[in-house]
């Protein structure tokens, strides 16, 4: 009896967890969408009269060295940070998966060539790549996204490839072949749906990492353009103020933390529900 209740409760809890975290993740996305409407101040308005003022009722997160309201900047930064991360993760997961599936499916030299390219990208120091890409394309978030995408897709390619190989050796794929499925159909009907969950979960879990990497590039002046509010560059810009004006660093830092945590927990909950 006791056991019964617990398992039922666990199931309910699992669904509840997914609900809670999808709501939270949704809230984050909404914040990003309606950043402009939500900001209490203009995030770009400089005010030399209140430079680096400590958190107060007027400025709950304090102000930065330009006298801009940190809360507004954190909210405005949600758009840049979350959207660019979403785009980046979207690009790498889709392209990586496509490459991995095709490699596994067609094998032979396609596999050899694509996987060698993946090896190159994987072993390539991202910094050098980012530097060059930004020189060719000019700085900006787009550039940073492209540079990071170039070095991060192999992870997905590898995952998709190994999973596809596994699926290809399964009986149900043989059954699909016997049912007369063409290669495209097999990929779309059986392979993709079966790896999608894992890829999705990996992608959601990757949000945090990628957000950090994007901000690392911002730090080098390769990411978000001045004066775009972006959490990573806000954090790196404030690094010297850790001891003196900690809020300048802590505000974007906690925004990153919350986002990373929410997306991770959302990914976890999603996995629990997708793969019981």
């Amino acid at each position: 009896m006791r056991k019964l209740r617990r398992t039922r409760k666990q199931r309910r809890m699992r669904m509840q967890r997914l609900a809670v975290f999808s709501v939270l993740a949704g809230l984050l996305l909404l914040t990003a969408l309606f950043a402009e409407q939500l900001c209490p101040y203009d995030p770009y308005m400089q005010d030399y009269g209140s430079v680096l003022s400590a958190p107060s009722p007027a400025h709950p997160f304090g102000t930065d060295r330009f006298g801009r309201d940190m809360l507004s900047r954190v909210i405005a930064g949600a758009r840049t940070s979350i959207f660019s991360t979403l785009v980046l993760v979207g690009i790498i997961s889709v392209s990586g998966t496509a490459a991995g599936v095709l490699c596994a499916y067609f094998g032979k030299w396609t596999d050899a060539v694509v996987m060698r390219i993946a090896d190159v990208c994987l072993a390539f120091p991202g910094l050098v790549f980012a530097l060059a890409v930004s020189a060719v394309l000019g700085g900006g978030t787009g550039t940073a996204v492209i540079a990071l995408a170039a070095v991060s897709w192999p992870k997905y390619a590898r995952l998709a490839r190994s999973r596809t190989l596994e699926i290809m050796s399964s009986d149900y794929l043989a059954a699909a072949r016997l049912a007369g499925d063409a290669p495209g159909q097999m990929i779309v009907r059986h392979i993709l749906p079966n790896i999608a969950g894992q890829i999705l979960v990996t992608a959601v879990l990757d949000m945090g990492t990628m957000m950090m990497e994007l901000s690392a590039l911002s730090f080098l002046g390769l990411g978000a353009r001045i004066p775009t509010a972006e959490w990573g560059s806000m954090m790196s810009g404030g690094r010297s103020m850790l001891q003196t004006y900690p809020w300048v660093v802590l505000a974007p830092g906690s925004a990153i933390f919350v986002t990373v945590a929410v997306f991770n927990l959302f990914g976890d909950a999603l996995r629990d529900c997708l793969e019981p």
Partner: protein
Amino acid sequence: MKRYIIRRLLSLIPVLFGITFLSFALMHAAGSDAVLQSMDASGITLSREVIDARRAELGLDRPFLVQYFSWLGGVLTGDMGVSYVSGRDVFSTFISKLPATFLLAGASILLTVVISLPLGILSAVRQNRFTDWLIRGCSFVGNSLPNFFTALLLIYLLAICIPVFPVISEGIGVRSAFLPALTLATAMSSRYLMQVRTAVLDELGKDYVAGERARGIRFSATLWKSVLRSCMTSLFTLLALSVGSLLGGTAVVESVFLWDGVGKLAVDAVNMRDYPVVQAYVVWTALVYTAVNLITDISYHFLDPRIRLEGGRR
């Protein structure tokens, strides 16, 4: 087995070639060069003649492909050229800085394992309980901190508030290595911990766990003797893969802690567009990374009887 190793080594050749070529090409595309870069840094304007003369001296005026192949030729004969900036022999400079980086990387891997293995397992075993949430919470914090920030925080706490460690490393030693290694380990652990957790959870769902339970074997015994041993190979692979990000991380951390290793050298070189040094670094990272992964693959053959005895399934 031997054939496998040889095949893996052969497949390294195009990869290395690709890496060197790409990096060479990209650094060129990145504009600027060692001469212009030093002008920015010092703020002393140089005349066109001086710039051109210096470029010619460094061979920077030659066509790109000529530069690349002359460099590549040098590499194959064991000569990586001299630094554009310091004029020193790149190869020997590199070799002299390698041990420091290896020490740091080794220490952080060790720390990572020491931190994340027990915590990851604990978190898996106590899935969705308080302990699990707590551990995962910490891992999110670790994941949200950029390396430079962790570094500053650690210095602040352990060198200034409680002065147990030095801020700047006093040569290459264990005491100096602790803080930088801990910085790297923080980032790595928070990711690795989650991977350990997932792997262990996966393994716990397998039939043999129920089997051992039915045989009345203590859960702890199952965990340590069977579960861990079974997921050892995948844990190993994940660790090896994270060596990539570790190598990237050493660059930042070495610069912050003034750890005189290859990472710092590389950051300086990238800033300076000191191509020969950047090339050396790229080749080195790629080599180490590929070697680490090669070694992992080969060590499977010893770690996992399924592969060892079936003779190279992959």
